[in-house]
Symmetry: C2
Subunit: 356 residues, 2 copies
DNA sequence: GAAAAAAATGTGTCCGCACACATAATTTTA
DNA sequence: TAAAATTATGTGTGCGGACACATTTTTTTC
């Protein structure tokens, strides 16, 4: 039942050569006659040889330098979570010689991004994990890395044709559809829903629009719903300011049957703050991310559901994918879609627990 | 920035002894003078020595034998998933010398369980993972294993005071509350909900009752709900049989305002089959587990939400915990609560993907 | 106080693999 | 065809640690 482990030595014996020769074909170091090479390859196949990665990392004492280019977590707790995930993966992979350096930039400062991305080029890296929040400004760096043959993984924001090794994140469109389902399920009667983008540069944020598209598609694709539900969207500025409240006042006045709001960013708490003062409207609220402020409002019942974008998981898997590629020489998927976790008061605790 | 790794050799040098002596104090093998022992311990502390587990597993060529005592997956797809999770963990841990043998029993046959649990005792094991679906019959084996100092981990079904190393699973009560929330959210108007236990020996299944308790608590704990929602429960037999349909007929006749059903087992599809014929009632349905049959009905819209008990994850983590204890000598949590994943048509794909 | 016993400490090999280096076999060159 | 160059193959050491065994030091014993 327990097949014995196959070692290089076993292959060498079976092929009547020394382990050095086997080693050479395993690593394509050349200097092996074609005849022997084929024979060894065949035996490897036959015996289903699986190199012992443990021993390998012990043997080659090499290290892998990975840079993580991400927004500063001290400014936004969302990115703090990503940093945690990156550090978690870093700890797990330390024994395999993986060394991670984080290059952090202010997510509202394009120049800071450019500076960090430039600084990172000095470091003689084996791999890069990047959250490309600035679309346009990212492209030249992608080209540069690609020219230098440094593999890089994107996360959080997808950019097509970037030549990246992989993308880790969620499907924005599907995420919007899910939000549609959640609001619809809670308001079976037909009404108006608002898609609220809060304080983001929409034009440069493709995934926010993807969410809106998915949300609208949920209703338009089912003829029965298309007639009874109306979807509007708004680009709200200056949360916290009094003008923010006025914008909402106007929208609610204009659409008296508005019964649900889908916030495409992690700022659902800004809307919840407003709704606190108009409880009689009984508006359903769905947003993103397990921020403290969102959780507090969920506890109070003002936010019904939160879709978890799992920033920690994104960081974690981003590093894991790079390690799979660099250290373990595994093929990695071009894309990893993290699950769209639905969080509500009753199942919240376990997601927080799992994030440890 | 990158502190050099501390090895046994470094400690030995600093203490002016040989690596053999350091090794002896590291493993409490005795035969070291107290004076030297203290000195070495102090240096270990000071240098924050972290043994290289990689090298350690290479050095000690020992293997760890783990048995998995679980219901047969060929009878029930739910348990097939658990087996997959166990095998997945087994693959990952193979290089650390972990060997897993599965002991499978028919989940409806107490004697089969006893036979397998007895057979397993012959095997000279280092650890056991068990799904104790038979409460009473499990207890003597727990005692036996405890007496033999074989660490064991429970999953799926919790049994207090079992002396187990850990329990992996979900919180049944909270799971029921979550179901309550999902049905309530979809029927804001007040109505009757049915808790359906299908074809299980309720008396011997504490966690089914836990789910019902949690469900009822959701409504009774909020005074506003307690008055407008009524919760009934039923123990339904012989699914697939015509009598099963009759039982449901009677319940629906008796409670014309029944607007939602919570199925505590993975057999929501049995109810969905019935509801197909009475679409006009518009009854919400919440159940458990990503079985093919459930997914088909979810696709059709007859099942609204499924709570994922993640049998694969339970098996996976059960083995991981045993390995953490045996191989890596880590302290493991007494309990690991897996998240209560809410699955609906719109986010289903990613959970199936993640299960690969 | 020397031999025997016990305690303390040191040394060497192996785990599976990578890689530098040594050696053997073959081909090229003059 | 012998020396030189090239190609093919074999050997040895180290990675960090475990463990068996060897050796040295200290303590008993008579």
């Amino acid at each position: 039942m327990n097949k014995p482990t196959i070692r290089i030595k076993d292959i060498a014996q079976k092929a009547n050569v020394s382990i050095g020769t086997v080693d050479r074909v395993l690593h394509n170091r050349g200097r092996v006659s074609e005849e022997v090479r084929v024979k060894i390859l065949q035996i490897i196949e036959e015996l289903d040889y699986q190199p012992n990665m443990i021993a390998r990392t012990l043997g080659t004492n090499r290290t892998y330098r990975i840079a993580a280019l991400i927004p500063d977590g001290t400014i936004d707790p969302y990115w703090q979570e990503s940093q945690n995930g990156i550090e978690k993966a870093g700890k797990e992979l330390q024994i395999y010689g993986v060394q991670i350096t984080q290059y952090r930039f202010n997510q509202h400062d394009v120049q800071a991004f450019i500076d960090q991305a430039t600084a990172l080029a000095q470091a003689n890296l084996d791999g890069i994990l990047v959250a490309p929040v600035f679309y346009r400004e990212s492209l030249p760096f992608f080209e540069q890395w690609h020219a230098l043959s440094i593999p890089f993984v994107l996360f959080n924001t997808q950019i097509e044709e970037s030549n990246s090794l992989s993308y880790i994140g969620q499907d924005a469109f599907q995420s919007g559809s899910l939000a549609g389902k959640l609001l619809h399920y809670g308001q079976p009667e037909g009404c108006t829903f608002l898609v609220a983008h809060i304080a983001e540069d929409i034009a440069n944020s493709a995934h926010l629009l993807g969410k809106e598209k998915g949300f609208r598609a949920y209703f338009s694709q089912q003829p029965a719903l298309a007639s009874s539900y109306k979807v509007i969207s708004a680009d709200l500025k200056k949360p916290g300011d009094i003008s923010f409240f006025h914008q909402l006042d106007r929208l609610l006045d204009h659409y008296p049957d508005m019964k649900g709001i889908f916030v495409t960013t992690s700022k659902a708490y800004e809307i919840a703050t407003y709704l606190q003062h108009t409880p009689e409207r009984n508006i359903r609220l769905v947003g993103y991310d397990l921020l403290e402020k969102n959780l507090a409002f969920m506890e109070e019942g003002l936010i019904d559901f939160i879709i978890n974008q799992n920033p920690q998981g994104q960081g974690y898997w981003g590093i894991q994918f790079l390690a799979d590629h660099l250290v373990f020489k595994k093929k990695v998927a071009l894309r990893k879609n993290l699950p769209l976790d639905i969080i509500t008061r009753e199942n919240l605790a376990y997601y927080l627990e799992a994030a440890q």
